[in-house]
Amino acid sequence: MSPQPPTDAAAPSRESVPSASRSAPLTSRRGGLLLHPVFWLTLVFAGLMIAVPLHGNNVALREDLILVAVAVILASNLNLMIGYTGYVNFGHIVFYGLGGYIGLYLATVRHWNLILAALTAGVSVSLLALVFGVGILRLRGAYFALATIGVLVAVNSFVANFDPFGRSEGMYVSFDAYAPLGGPMRALWITYFLVVAVMALSMILSLAIKKSKFGLGLFAIREDENAAVVLGINARVFKAIIYSVSAFLPAVAGTLMFYKNGMIDPSIAFEYMLSLEGIVMLMLGGQGTVIGAALGGGLYERLRSYLLTSPRLSNFHLVIAGGMLLLVVLFAPGGLIGWLYRLIPRARKVIE
């Protein structure tokens, strides 16, 4: 039970906070959101990501950009936990992988429409996250962080022993599964557009939450959870909701990506390193900011691709990533955006 409000004065705030979170912050703040520069920046960015590779049918560029989009999706949604709420999730990749599994199963074995399959995957992973979240979010701070590794291990060993998902061999997408989208060539483009759309949605969702009362509640939890609870924020509910929300879009993206790749198995779906690199992306760009998460995701992904393809450095990409993370944590906890804020204090008002 959350503590009772000691006086009548506390009662209104107690009522207004949960109701604001339930009556979809998007609608109540639509005007503010549509006028926000970050909203437009997101749309322009997503538009460019679609227009540039489409112009001249540049498949190589598309393949690079889809990885950037996925990195931005993962970093943005991880930001909801780490940046907004102050809870480290080491197992964030579990949402992506499990979403991929559920969506791929529905789309290929059950022959569902791809978008429907992806949305169903998103909803079911979110619900699952809610169930897990209610359990492990009773743990605070670092204990929660350790338990998220446990969720990753748990889901991984479950899937690797689960028959419908092909146990440790995984699942393959047969060629005719692409037929409903007009053959493989078109299907790849369509999934690309969808992934970019999910990326834009991730950023807009981050912005909407940040601008909402619900988001303020999360920031209060990040700053001082005990104080937030005393002020009437139902921290347990808030944390469980944000954990569940941060699962939705990664799961949708997981379905799309594994559908595009044509196969899935536990070691690719639940790649611990990718989960960890998500944290590096976020810290690099600037945790707690919408643009920072996106920027970190995009930059890190490009850097990683560069390192992985470079013959001399490919073995050391983890060392470099770890080194960057260490430097950011020690000397620039705000990441790139934090640095920008210090350089140009007025940027704080424009860039969220």
Partner: protein
């Protein structure tokens, strides 16, 4: 079962390092697993180079662990002491990535083993493998040595004083920074020693440390922070538990069970175990 008990003492040793750092500095050291792996490779390298009794090699490994721990403390951990837990978690985690990344580049992720065996003996139906016995004995000796150090020597008492109350210890003329560095170094050395012992029992890769790190968390939570002998006892308990369940379920489920245990213990005793340790 007996093997489980013997291995449990090594888990206990691994957990002592984690528990010491956690208890004294309030830092959850995520480099723990990587250092355990380094201990394994340290043993491998020294043993293949020198071919002397593997247990003698524990001494240089512990010494190297102390030096390495001091180095890590001054380069990364010192700056985040007193900052929110998130920072220390991410800082140690970054060091972990660096070690694992470098280790993967040098040794790849293929398995290695230390080819050293101690003759065992058989009593009735039970076979006592020599390596397990010797590793357990080494773990118990180190645990007692640590207990003596913490409770009978001045630096040990200083570590406990800082763990209890850093400000008060400072006022009594204890330099808390030196003590924190010392505690961190000892914690890292213990992790390296436990890794070295494990390397005489099983084949290992650079990623093997992860599962021991996980076990260390479980043991630490079971034991509460502080007493090395408590960690040893909890380690034995975990080893016994593992020995008891392995005949019935697949090995791939063990991490799941351990993490279940971790979460359940924390939820059933929300701060309970820790509150007692702190009070």
């Amino acid at each position: 079962m007996i093997d489980g008990l013997l291995i449990g003492s090594v888990y206990g040793l691994a957990a002592m390092g984690l528990s010491l750092i956690w208890g004294v500095m309030d830092v959850i050291n995520l480099t723990h697993g990587a250092v355990i792996a380094l201990g394994m490779f340290g043993m491998y390298l020294l043993f293949t180079a020198l071919h002397i009794n593997a247990y003698l090699l524990l001494l240089p490994i512990i010494a190297a662990g102390l030096i390495f721990g001091t180095l890590v403390y001054w380069t990364s951990v010192h700056w985040v002491i007193g900052r929110p837990q998130l920072s220390s978690l991410l800082a140690t985690f970054a060091v972990n990535m660096i070690i694992i990344g470098a280790g993967t580049a040098i040794w790849s992720t293929s398995p290695y083993n230390v080819n050293f065996s101690v003759p065992g003996f058989t009593v009735g139906l039970y076979t006592f493998t020599g390596n397990h016995m010797a590793a357990a004995a080494a773990a118990v000796i180190i645990a007692f040595a640590l207990e003596l150090f913490l409770y009978r020597t001045r630096p040990g008492k200083a570590i406990r004083a800082v763990a209890d109350n850093r400000e008060a210890a400072e006022l009594m003329g204890i330099s808390s920074t030196t003590v924190l560095a010392l505690a961190f170094a000892i914690g890292i050395a213990l992790a390296a020693a436990s890794g070295a012992l494990v390397s005489t029992l099983f084949p290992f890769t650079i990623l093997s440390g992860g599962s021991y790190q996980l076990k260390s968390f479980v043991v630490t939570v079971l034991a509460g922070l502080g007493r090395p002998l408590g960690a040893l006892a909890a380690g034995l308990l975990l080893g016994l538990l593992e020995g008891a369940v392995t005949p019935f379920i697949a090995v791939s489920w063990i991490p799941l069970i351990e993490f279940g245990l971790f979460v359940v213990v924390l939820i059933v005793f929300p701060k309970g175990i820790f509150a007692k340790a702190a009070a």
